[in-house]
């Protein structure tokens, strides 16, 4: 969806930023947003500072959106990994190259897709 959104909005993004914190995504305030996501997911002591950075740069509404998006995907990853679903065919076709580029096959949950394909 990230690639679809940047293409739809004629933006340029380095998708390696998703898995490599030293890479700049090119998205406005991307570093602060990814830092916020990481410290919220890991329940780090750095969360208050990351939260304040979002408010200072983008406002309270942006914090609501960022917290909501993290909350949504904290739920979705646990559904996907807890039920053992494979990725959808259309999604696999559209993102296979990107998954390889980012090395996502090393994640344990990749076996759910491999298993379903071989079933």
């Amino acid at each position: 969806m990230l690639r679809a959104s940047v293409e739809a909005n004629s933006e340029t993004v380095d998708l390696n930023a998703i898995v490599d914190g030293s890479v700049s995504s090119g998205i406005e305030h991307g570093a602060e947003l990814t830092a916020f996501a990481e410290v919220l997911v890991t329940h780090s002591d750095e969360l208050p500072a990351a939260r304040q950075a979002i408010v200072d740069l983008m406002g309270e509404g942006a914090l609501v959106d960022a917290a909501g998006t993290v909350a949504n995907f904290q739920r979705m990853v646990r559904i996907a990994d807890g039920i053992g679903i494979p990725i959808d065919e259309r999604m696999a076709e559209a993102s296979g190259d990107l998954r390889s580029q980012l090395g996502l096959e090393r994640y344990g949950s990749a076996t759910n897709t491999v298993r379903a394909a071989g079933a």
Binding site: M1, L2, A4, S5, V6, A8, N9, E11, L15, I18, S25, I27, E28, L33, T34, F36, A37, E38, L40, V41, T42, H43, L47, P48, R51, G61, L63, V64, A66, A67, G68, T69, V70, A71, N72, F73, Q74, R75, M76, V77, R78, I79, A80, D81, G82, I83, G84, I85, P86, I87, D88, M91, R99, L104, G108, A110, T111, N112, A116, A119
Partner: protein
């Protein structure tokens, strides 16, 4: 007493967020398809206890979680097999596996009980994460309501590639016809919890509350405070930290 007022934070939380949160809280209190109201509240309570569970912390750090012996910090309401499922899904989701799921089933947890357990815990856990994200105190859990579970298994449930049965869009019972929005196709992650249809309704409500409704997902222009690309960067970052392939 009014819930989800966010009175402790000076942040305006829109109704599109608070209303579905209240709806989830009301539903959690009553009996579900397979668990009683008291058990559903216990599942929610354990999703909170798991974050401070010493046994979970030790296993998460271990190369092989199963090699670590100990007991979960628990409220003592849920059977051990359900306790294990809740704590594992909350604290170590990247290492969930078919073998672990099959072990839970062998220990007496039915596929339908497991589906509802996942649905209850992810709803409450994600609402709690939203609270932590904006710096608000967690909402107190509601009091359990009496009553018996419905114990209805969808007639069209079948194995579709996940670890447990799900319901294809063309095999829904009449009373569940709404759960995929009337469409002929639903993505795997939407069908994932369909062994308990109420799970799917809750998932849709919270998707719109926290992120975008299914209809809004087709809109790539900015419709929130964050641009769509900013939202997707946060989403991708969250999935990456969780090591989720999906």
């Amino acid at each position: 007493m009014e819930t989800f007022t966010f009175a402790d934070v000076a942040i305006a939380v829109p109704d599109r967020v608070t209303d579905p949160h209240r709806k989830v809280w009301a539903k959690r209190a009553g009996p579900g398809s397979w668990w009683t109201g008291a058990e559903r509240i216990a599942i929610a309570d354990e999703s909170r206890r798991a974050l401070d569970c010493g046994f979970c912390a030790e296993r998460r750090e271990a190369l092989s979680a199963e090699a670590v012996e100990g007991e979960h910090d628990s409220g003592g309401v849920l059977p051990a097999v359900a306790l294990e499922a809740v704590h594992k899904i909350v604290t170590d989701s990247a290492r969930l596996s078919l073998a672990l799921y099959e072990g839970l089933v062998a220990d007496g947890l039915s596929d339908a009980h497991y589906s509802e357990l996942v649905g209850v815990l992810v709803a409450v856990f994600s609402i709690d994460e939203f609270h932590r994200g904006i710096g608000a105190a967690l909402e107190p859990l509601p009091e359990a309501e009496p009553g018996d579970p419905e114990r209805r298994r969808p007639s069209g449930a079948t194995m579709e590639g996940a670890w447990l049965a799900t319901v294809p869009a063309d095999a829904l019972d009449p009373e569940d016809a709404d759960i995929y929005g009337g469409g002929r196709h639903a993505p795997n992650v939407v069908r994932a919890l369909s062994l308990v249809p109420e799970n799917v309704r809750t998932l849709g409500d919270l998707h719109g509350a926290h992120y975008l409704s299914y209809d809004e997902m087709r809109i790539m222009e900015k419709i929130r405070e964050l641009s769509r690309s900013q939202m997707e960067l946060v989403a991708a970052g969250t999935s990456a930290v969780n090591e989720c392939f999906y």
